[in-house]
Amino acid sequence: MNKDSHRDRTEKKAEAVICEYEGPLLRYAMQILGDNSLAQDAVEKAFIQLCKNRIKETDFPYENLSAELYRAVHNAAVGLIFRKKAVRDRGRKIPLASGKPEEEVMRIVRELDFKEQQIVIFKIFEQKSNLEISRITGMNEETIVILLYKSVIKIAARLKKAGLL
């Protein structure tokens, strides 16, 4: 009885956490991976990896959970990208950009270093503040400002090269 009620409470907590974070995390994973199914994989992996050990804590969901989930999704997405590249190297078919300008822009973003890509997504697409990005990535705000500037300049140069700017 007691065990069942504890399980029910845990289940409710899990449902609440999933409902709260799945949308933003899926959007973030989608921007990194560009594939809905892979994004779902990354988010699922992040939830399972991170939350199962922490849900027993009394203060769950805790303050830093959002940042930890974003980090876990990022790591899972990076792992999936490496796996995807390995698959591509083995000669299997991976859908490529169709040549539309928007897709070309997103492709350029996805070709950035993972840290640059992460900051561009958080700052430009997700409209997060430097402080929020700092909490998620662990970088200080000065570094974020400089990295963002370098990333945007790099994107601008590649867009010019592609004739889009």
Binding site: R7, L26, R27, Q31, Q40, P101, E102, V105, M106, L165
Partner: protein, 166 residues
């Protein structure tokens, strides 16, 4: 090189007014995230410096393209599928089972090793129990066979056989 450097105008904020100091701040300036003091410095610099004006225009154009591209991304589902959701909830409620399911290969290898060691230990124990020589003082056994006398001096199961004979 920026104009403010080339035309030799006197500058009070000599350090902050350099283009390489200003340009990283352009993004925050354009998104109005810069404090009023620094924003004023950037504004003043931009008014004079042609190089930074070009950079600012490039950044703005890039940002516009990025925003457009982001909005044009194929619509992704905002929810996990029911199957995945159930899997996550199950992982929450059964953390140990979930861990085992995730590390199935590792657990299988460990289980196989433990089984092999256990079987080996059991077999050794049985062999020692039934077939090992009896421990104790060495004995001397004299076997008389057709007038010849053989003497065996060792620890052996023969001891018990000899003792049992009338």
């Amino acid at each position: 090189m920026s104009e403010d450097k080339t035309n030799g105008e006197p500058r009070s904020e000599k350090k902050i007014m350099r283009c390489e100091d200003i340009q990283p701040l352009l993004f925050d300036y354009m998104s109005r995230e810069l404090g009023e003091g620094r924003a004023a410095i950037v504004r003043e610099h931009l008014r004079k410096c042609k190089t930074c004006q070009v950079v600012a225009k490039d950044i703005q154009a890039t940002l516009d393209l990025l925003h457009t591209a982001s909005k044009a991304e194929p619509k992704q589902t905002e929810r996990l599928t029911d199957k995945r959701r159930k899997k996550i909830v199950w992982a929450f409620t059964h953390p140990v089972m979930s861990w085992m399911a995730k590390h199935m290969f590792f657990i299988s290898v460990i289980a196989a090793i433990i089984t092999i060691i256990s079987v080996a230990a059991f077999m050794r124990f049985m062999l020692e129990k039934h077939f090992a020589p009896i421990k104790g003082k060495p004995i001397t056994v004299i076997i008389v066979n057709r007038g010849q006398t053989n003497m065996i001096q060792e620890t052996s199961n023969i001891q018990s056989e000899v003792q049992q004979r009338p």
